[in-house]
């Protein structure tokens, strides 16, 4: 008590401020820790994320190589991004990857639902299907390079199934299907991870609901449609958003398997080429900024879309509740009367 009161007295007397003393005091320590907890993460975030980003933003207005003189060119780089047909042409490939992402989500959701019910050897299946996610993307690239080689793994398997080699396409050479081949590798890699996320979400659904539904005579599909899907809506939304953003910035499969040649160069591969082979750092930076905005817009649009879809249902529910209450009130009135 006395110490506290003396502190008060000190404060009142406005004694000179001793930093060391203050730092050792309880209050000082509190402040220091609070500031440190706030400041250190912010500092790291700033140095490793925002500062490099700001630098890149600055680069996008210059004509420059990694070393050597830089020349300010204003919006020239941005104009070029929109003028060059290889930049936005490459973005068209993203539709392949978005399509793949949708297929991947459907497969993952289907398998997750299956596996969340009682299945023999369910955990082994989960393990097998999650396994590709653990392999490094580079290794997957090499696996599929051989997988798709003419007369190698894939063709052999198809021949077992009765296909003739002459009727099979060249999986990586034919420009009509080579992007699909590449997307398939990415689906193969990520559907297991999506599936595990979905299983996690489905596990949180109250098992009594299934029982009740079964008593009401609902079949498995109806259980999925009316119990599981509404309960895991949030995680589905999240996965869709992540998949689409990921599709816009697809890089590994084309870079490793085809090195972006033969019409498989996605936006990132083209950007990498421009930045590292031709060393047009300014142009590549502005490409990155443009892509960032595209991703922003895509994300916002998706959010709005899902918000719209969800609000609709909630509104319905709200109205339903409102109506129910109203009728209850009416009922009570009747009874009361």
């Amino acid at each position: 008590m006395s110490a506290a009161s003396s502190q008060v007295v000190q404060a009142k007397q406005k004694r000179p401020f001793y930093f060391l003393k203050w730092a050792k005091s309880r209050k000082g320590q509190q402040t220091i820790i609070i500031v440190a907890f706030m400041f250190i993460p912010l500092l790291l975030l700033f140095t490793f994320t925002y500062f490099p980003f700001a630098e890149m933003f600055k680069f996008s207005f210059y004509k420059m190589k990694y070393i050597g003189p830089r020349k300010f060119v204003g919006l020239d780089n941005y104009i070029q991004v929109f003028k060059r047909d290889d930049c936005f042409g490459a973005l068209k490939l993203s539709f392949y990857y978005i399509g793949g992402a949708m297929v991947q989500l459907v497969i993952a959701l289907y398998l997750a639902t299956m596996l969340s019910f009682k299945v023999k050897g369910g955990n082994i299946f989960k393990g097998f299907m999650f396994f590709p996610y653990l392999i490094s993307g580079i290794a997957i690239g090499f696996i599929f390079k051989f997988f798709y080689t003419r007369g190698f793994v894939f063709d052999t398997v198809l021949q077992w199934c009765g296909f003739e080699l002459e009727n099979l396409p060249y999986w990586l050479k034919d420009q009509r299907i080579n992007n699909i081949s590449l997307v398939a590798t990415s689906v193969w890699r990520y559907f297991g991870q999506n599936m595990v996320l979905f299983i996690g979400a489905i596990m949180s659904v109250d098992a009594e609901l299934y029982e009740a539904a079964e008593l009401d005579g609902a079949n498995k599909f109806q259980q999925f449609r009316f119990i599981i899907l509404p309960s895991i809506k949030t995680i589905v939304t999240l996965n869709v958003i992540l998949s689409i953003t990921g599709s816009l910035s697809a890089f590994e499969p084309p870079y490793v398997i085809t090195s972006g040649a033969n019409g498989t160069g996605t936006y990132f591969v083209i950007m990498n080429d421009i930045a590292h082979v031709s060393q047009k750092v300014g142009l590549a930076s502005s490409m990155a900024i443009v892509l960032l905005f595209i991703i922003f817009v895509a994300t916002v649009l998706q959010k709005l879309f899902f918000k719209y879809v969800m609000r609709d249902e909630e509104d319905e529910n709200k109205r339903a509740g409102f109506r129910r209450e109203k009728s209850l009130v009416r009922y009570r009135k009747k009874r009361g009367a």
């Binding site: 798709y148 190698f152 990586l172 050479k173 080579n178 090195s259 040649a261 082979v277 047009k280």
Partner: protein
């Protein structure tokens, strides 16, 4: 433990300090060197210090000159140990290097040569060079030419050196030569003789038409893939750029001097020469189905065994690839090397260039400098190193290895350096046009194959695009266009 830590720390401190020294300028590092030497060889300290001030003159005064050295007679009285850092770790491990040195010691028993192999040579050598701690002979890494005299002993002036040694202008500055190449590479085509024979090709094709006809014959008469593109590896495609200079024009000035100022360098010259003809061979071969079926899944490691076993007719690769193809299987004798099928005004040329060059430490003692130069001359003239490596001989009188038997009457053309003040223009044009000739422009050559296979663009359309890109780059860079 503590002592170790202190030692490690002080080592680190010393290392960083010395690095700081090199960063701030090469003058300082040479100064550090003299001090070190002064400590080691007190007697010679004054000599060395004097030498620092006027290295070039001193060498000339001493009469240390590559051309004047007579092996077996000059400098036989020197007893010393010289140290050589080399990039050929493979030869050091296999003991081949020791054999060379033993032979050298038969002629010069008093000069001991120590070799140190460096695995990551290009980077490490540069560091060692700036630190000054590297011995007497090194394979010259990528240094700026105006710094050559600070690090290396001049071998002599350009005119006299040109008479006895090939590829002297690689490390030439101010008409003084600072490097002698260890061996040389030429640009041609690796092919399987047995496959060519089976296809009934007796004379080596000299023009693009003859070459395409030969490929067609291979396709018709054998099961082999006539021309394997190695599309998927990427860099093997960029390697086609190495043929557009000497091989396609016969001029050593083309790459670094003429190309910069040429208007539309990819146009059809009408006589099957220049870049147009080089890339057209590739386009035509693919368009006519004379390459592998599925170019997207070619396998670089696998192709070596395939050409050795006769499943591939030929591949467009530098002469360095020859020995790899020979070693890849049992039929090494079948592998041959021929020149690129372009004839300029009735004569065939082959682009050629030096491998790593020997450089001698300018800070070494006089005895070591002389001993080192004797050794370099011996390696060039007597050792048969370039011959054993399957390279173009560096010694003007040297013998060509067997693989160049098909190169008789073909002139080797090495790239001449850029004109003073224009050294950076090629890089700038390359980046600006995104064609990246001879500097990683793999995708543009890959695109030729894609368009040829899909038939969605004619060859002339591709070349027109390249010309446009090049012209645009010339305009941006403000380069004067002459013709």
């Amino acid at each position: 433990m503590k002592l170790k830590r202190v030692l490690a720390l002080s080592m680190a401190a010393v290392l960083t300090l010395s690095m700081v020294g090199c960063g701030s300028g090469s003058n300082e590092s040479t100064a550090v060197n003299t001090n070190e030497e002064a400590a080691q060889v007190p007697a010679e300290a004054t000599d060395d210090a004097a030498e620092e001030t006027a290295t070039g003159e001193k060498a000339a005064v001493d009469g240390l000159n590559y051309v004047d050295i007579v092996l077996g007679e000059s400098y036989t009285d020197i007893t010393t140990t010289i140290k050589w850092i080399s990039h050929r770790t493979d030869l050091i491990e296999s003991g081949a290097m020791d054999t060379y040195i033993e032979k050298f010691n038969e002629m010069y028993p008093n000069i001991t040569v120590e070799v140190e192999g460096v695995t990551n040579y290009a980077d490490d050598a540069l560091l060692r060079l700036t630190s000054g701690d590297w011995g007497d002979i090194m394979m010259i890494p990528a240094v700026d030419k105006n710094l050559l005299s600070e690090y290396f002993v001049p071998y002599g002036d350009l005119d006299s050196m040109k008479e006895v040694v090939r590829f002297v202008d690689q490390w030439m500055y101010d008409n003084t030569v600072y490097g002698v190449a260890s061996t040389g590479n030429a640009q041609g085509i690796v092919y399987n003789k047995a496959v060519f024979e089976k296809a009934g090709i007796t004379a080596i094709p000299k023009t693009p038409e003859e070459f395409i006809a030969a490929l067609q014959a291979i396709k018709d008469k054998t099961d082999a893939i006539p021309l394997y593109t190695n599309y998927a590896a990427g860099w093997t495609m960029g390697a086609w750029d190495a043929y557009i200079n000497g091989s396609a024009t016969g001029s050593g000035k083309y790459m670094n001097q003429e190309l910069l100022h040429t208007k539309d360098p990819f146009k059809d010259y009408g006589d099957d020469t220049h870049a147009y003809a080089v890339y057209k061979i590739l386009y035509d071969a693919v368009a006519n189905g004379l390459t592998e079926e599925d170019y997207t899944t070619t396998d670089w490691e696998g192709c070596k065994g395939m050409i050795n076993g006769g499943q591939i007719g030929c591949m467009v690769l530098g002469s360095w690839a020859y020995s790899q193809m020979v070693d890849a299987g049992e039929n090494g004798d079948d592998i041959g090397y021929m020149s690129f099928p372009i004839t300029v005004n009735g004569k065939q040329y082959a682009s050629a260039g030096p491998d790593y060059n020997y450089g001698i430490n300018v800070n070494a003692s006089n005895d070591n400098k002389a001993a080192a130069m004797v050794f370099v001359k011996w390696m060039t003239e007597e050792s048969g190193f370039a011959f054993n490596e399957g390279g173009v001989p560096i010694d003007m009188d040297g013998e060509y290895p067997e693989l160049y038997s098909a190169f008789e009457g073909i002139e080797f053309v090495a790239d001449e350096p850029a004109v003073a003040g224009e050294e950076d223009i090629l890089n700038e044009l390359n980046a600006e046009s995104e064609l990246n000739i001879n500097s990683g422009g793999d995708t543009k050559v890959q695109a030729i194959i894609e368009h040829a296979a899909n038939g969605d663009k004619t060859f002339d359309e591709i070349m027109n695009e390249w010309n446009e890109a090049w012209t645009g780059a010339q305009e941006t860079a403000g380069v004067e266009v002459t013709n």
